[in-house]
Symmetry: C2
Subunit: 181 residues, 2 copies
């Protein structure tokens, strides 16, 4: 919301250029968020210090398919943010561009759906790992795999941050589209 | 994608009005999708025909908090779609409106995030109910609760349909914003 206020504060001074610069900065923030989430989740791996003759107690992120999806979704999103930076620079230079902004809104929307899907599906599984569910006999695994659970919980933060940034990015694009230079 | 083609097919004939009418129709579709999903999930309830002296085997949607979230998210979304219809009609009448379209884009984006979150979190749990996970000792419950599983799987369809419709709605708003009547 602050973002919108800043750009509205100086309507005389190339307002669309200000919106575009903010767009560029937010894309870098979103890139850092999603890349951080993907790396944090992708390197999660805990081996317990005790083991029996047959089993070694080990938890990795790809024991659960949902976390694999989370890593893929966040990697794709961070790649998209890097690839969209040139287009964002183009919008700073040529702030009257309309068609390329429409393309960007639709790509942003699809990436928003992707990142939200990954983050919330993982959040559902993380909740289950913490609390378990007695009705379905799915027990909490966080007593045993403590650092694993902390890591997977923490890696959600970046992803949810990226969701917020993407909503602001779509708002900024809508504001820029509604104006003529 | 067809949606965009239709409105672009007749650019001379009040293109923004065509976009607004399509917007109105798609909102009704999205309302039906989300309401259907909420009702289908919210009435899911299976009692198995056998029981012991102590336990009755019964599965309801609110045994799993994620499904409660799914019902709430879809109910809120369907209420939003009904409440946004007057604004959509206003856009048909006054197709040059810009500020109200920006408000609509941002609300659509937030609802998109909400519906996607509900649908994908539930999909993660439905997947677990079907397949189970051997590494965490979470076993499939679909052998016992067969009709419960079919019902929760089916109710996801409407929600994912609403996600697609919302992406198209945001695209339509972006197209309408980029034009002047």
């Amino acid at each position: 919301m602050e973002a919108g206020d800043i750009s509205k504060g100086k309507p005389g001074f190339g307002a669309n250029k200000g919106v575009s610069v903010l767009d560029f900065v937010l894309r870098i923030v979103a890139f850092v968020c999603t890349l951080g989430s993907a790396i944090a989740m992708g390197t999660t791996n805990e081996t317990l210090p005790f083991f029996t003759q047959f089993i070694r107690f080990r938890a990795r992120f790809n024991d659960l398919p949902t976390f694999t999806f989370f890593v893929v979704a966040n990697s794709v999103a961070s790649a998209y943010f890097i690839l969209s930076l040139p287009l964002s620079i183009f919008h700073i230079v040529k702030s009257g561009a309309q068609n390329s902004r429409i393309v960007m809104v639709i790509l942003d929307t699809v990436v928003l759906a992707l990142v939200t899907a990954g983050a919330s599906a993982s959040a559902a599984i993380v909740y289950l790992a913490h609390k378990g569910n007695t009705r379905t006999n799915w027990f909490s695994i966080c007593q045993q795999f403590n650092s694993f659970c902390e890591r997977i919980s923490g890696s959600l933060i970046g992803s949810f941050g990226a969701v917020v940034v993407l909503i602001i990015l779509i708002l900024l694009s809508a504001v820029a589209l509604s104006r003529r230079p």
